[in-house]
């Protein structure tokens, strides 16, 4: 156990939770919905990938692809159940939170009924090779997780920057009222956003299953960490979420090394509280341009 190993672990953890945090952040800023249903989306994608792995255990692309697509479908289901009926009703923010949390909890129980309490595991998607870089041994799964997350993130950012749908989503993130004035349909954009963020959570689920198991309640920890990273980074900011994910990954890895795994949540939340005391809007205030007047 040396400092390099700690950093490698931190980056891996940051990559997975960062994906969810960015998904939470994009959903909040474009739709005004704090989506707590990622626990459900996470398990849904995990089980779908597991079912596919049962049929095609040797094709990693197919397994990962199934997870991503299943995540997108789960995101659209949540959108149809929560966002479309509720978005123009009074107190949407709190109602949306309660409804999505309910979906997460009901979903977990459903998975428990259908698949039973035994955890499932996915085959190694990235093989079992190792690379020695200077003095650090990098295993295939760690490299694969980081590369896949970064590729997904870059893909999402490029799509948001270049495509017309991305322009609509960004417009809605900045000013929903003005967005409807220029003919952007809020419900249709909601479907795109939640499909996209669901797919990000789906990828995170497949990647995390390289380290942990898929279980009915396995989505809860990533949900809590994703939401808290998004809060810490400043809801609505992609850059803030990336920075917060790296910092919290570092806190997790350092706590694991010096204090022991049982203290991880404690130190993480202490760190988040500390950040929010100093910067109530989260880290993003440092980097976002032209955010407020």
């Amino acid at each position: 156990m040396d400092i390099a190993f700690v950093i490698v672990n931190a980056v891996t953890v940051a990559a997975i939770y960062g994906l969810i945090a960015i998904a939470v952040s994009i959903t909040w800023s474009s739709l005004g919905l704090i989506n707590l249903a990622y626990g459900f989306i996470f398990s849904f994608a995990g089980y779908a990938a597991w079912l596919m792995a049962g049929r095609m255990p040797t094709n990693p692309y197919l397994i990962a692809g199934t997870g991503i697509i299943a995540g997108g479908i789960a995101g659209i289901i949540v959108c149809l159940l929560v966002f479309i009926p509720l978005h123009d009703k009074p107190a949407f923010t709190s109602r949306g939170m309660i409804a999505t949390l309910a979906i997460s909890l009901i979903g977990s129980q459903l998975f428990l009924m259908i698949f039973g309490p035994t955890s499932k595991s996915l085959p190694d998607l990235f093989g079992r090779w190792k690379v020695k870089l200077f003095d650090i041994t990098l295993t295939a799964d760690k490299i694969g997780i980081v590369v896949c997350s970064i590729a997904m993130l870059i893909g999402v950012v490029l799509w948001m920057r270049s495509s017309r749908r991305g322009l609509e989503i960004r417009a809605m993130m900045m000013n929903p009222h003005a967005a409807s004035i220029v003919g952007i349909g809020i419900r249709r954009t909601g479907l795109y956003v939640m499909g996209l963020t669901g797919a990000m959570a789906g990828l995170a689920s497949v990647l995390l299953s390289q380290t942990y198991y898929i279980a009915p309640f396995s989505g809860l920890t990533p949900l809590i960490k994703g939401v808290s990273i998004a809060l810490c980074g400043g809801l609505g900011s992609v850059q803030g979420a990336v920075i917060a994910a790296i910092l919290l990954g570092l806190v997790e890895a350092l706590t694991n090394k010096f204090l022991g795994g049982q203290y991880v949540l404690m130190t993480q939340f202490l760190f988040i509280i500390l950040v929010l005391v100093v910067r109530p809007r989260g880290i993003s205030g440092l980097v976002d341009i032209a955010r407020e007047q």
Partner: protein
């Protein structure tokens, strides 16, 4: 030829508050109509009612032969994007803009029909022909522009599609007089063809003699109408 806009018996407001009272209005193709009135007498609410953005509304609004008015009790903005796609270009009051988007992205966001999106390059050129100062600022986030430049972006965005009806809500509000006059002149110089423009303004002097009709608005009702030969008494 059908009217661009025909409003009959429109009432609208927010919650218990009724701002517009049984209002009738017709706007013909090619017409430029000014509406004047004090703050709080319903000019913006009338525009919002046309766009479906008020808290509630009832009465008939026909845009280009299609009924867009509904009796609604809640959900402001629920149908706005559909109404906009029927051919309504809204140049809203104040800064209804996207702070972090660049001027170019902003203009692109106005080109929401597939046809406008395909020809957006030419359309942007046309907007730059009207508002030349924007050319240097195409890559600048809108949040960093001055008030006058923002208003130009907001109006330019409305010009990116082939709308039937342009709604310009107080285009000179909060601008320095010189810039306000320039913005108004640009609006008045736009070739309408068979579409129409509806301009709300408090400064009557900016409109007199330059629009086809001026309508007064008071306490949620239309009061009096003057033709293009209208001159403000005592103005020089």
């Amino acid at each position: 030829m059908t009217e661009v806009l025909k409003i009959e018996g429109l009432s609208a407001g927010y919650g218990p508050l009724r701002v517009i009272h049984d209002l009738d209005l017709v706007i013909h193709p090619g017409e430029r109509v000014g509406i004047v009135g004090l703050n709080g007498h319903g000019k913006t609410t009338l525009f919002y009612a046309i766009a479906g953005l008020t808290g509630w509304q009832r009465g008939s609004i026909v845009l280009n032969g299609k009924q867009i008015g509904r009796t609604r009790s809640q959900g402001p903005g629920r149908y706005t994007h559909q109404i906009v796609r029927q051919g309504l270009a809204i140049m809203p009051q104040g800064d209804e803009i996207f702070q972090g988007l660049t001027v170019e992205e902003h203009l692109d966001s106005g080109a929401f029909t597939p046809e406008a999106w395909r020809t957006r390059k030419e359309r942007k050129e046309r907007v730059l022909g009207i508002f030349a100062p924007l050319r240097k600022l195409m890559k600048t986030p809108v949040g960093r522009l001055s008030g006058g430049e923002r208003r130009m972006v907001s109006i330019g965005r409305g010009l990116m599609t082939d709308a039937k009806l342009y709604l310009a809500d107080e285009p000179t509000l909060g601008l320095a007089p010189k810039i306000g006059i320039a913005v108004m002149e640009a609006l008045l110089a736009i070739d309408l063809k068979d579409s129409a423009m509806f301009i709300a303004e408090q400064n009557v002097a900016l409109l007199e003699g330059k629009v086809d009709r001026i309508i007064g608005m008071h306490a949620g009702k239309l009061k009096g109408e003057a033709s293009s030969s209208f001159r403000l008494s005592g103005s020089h």
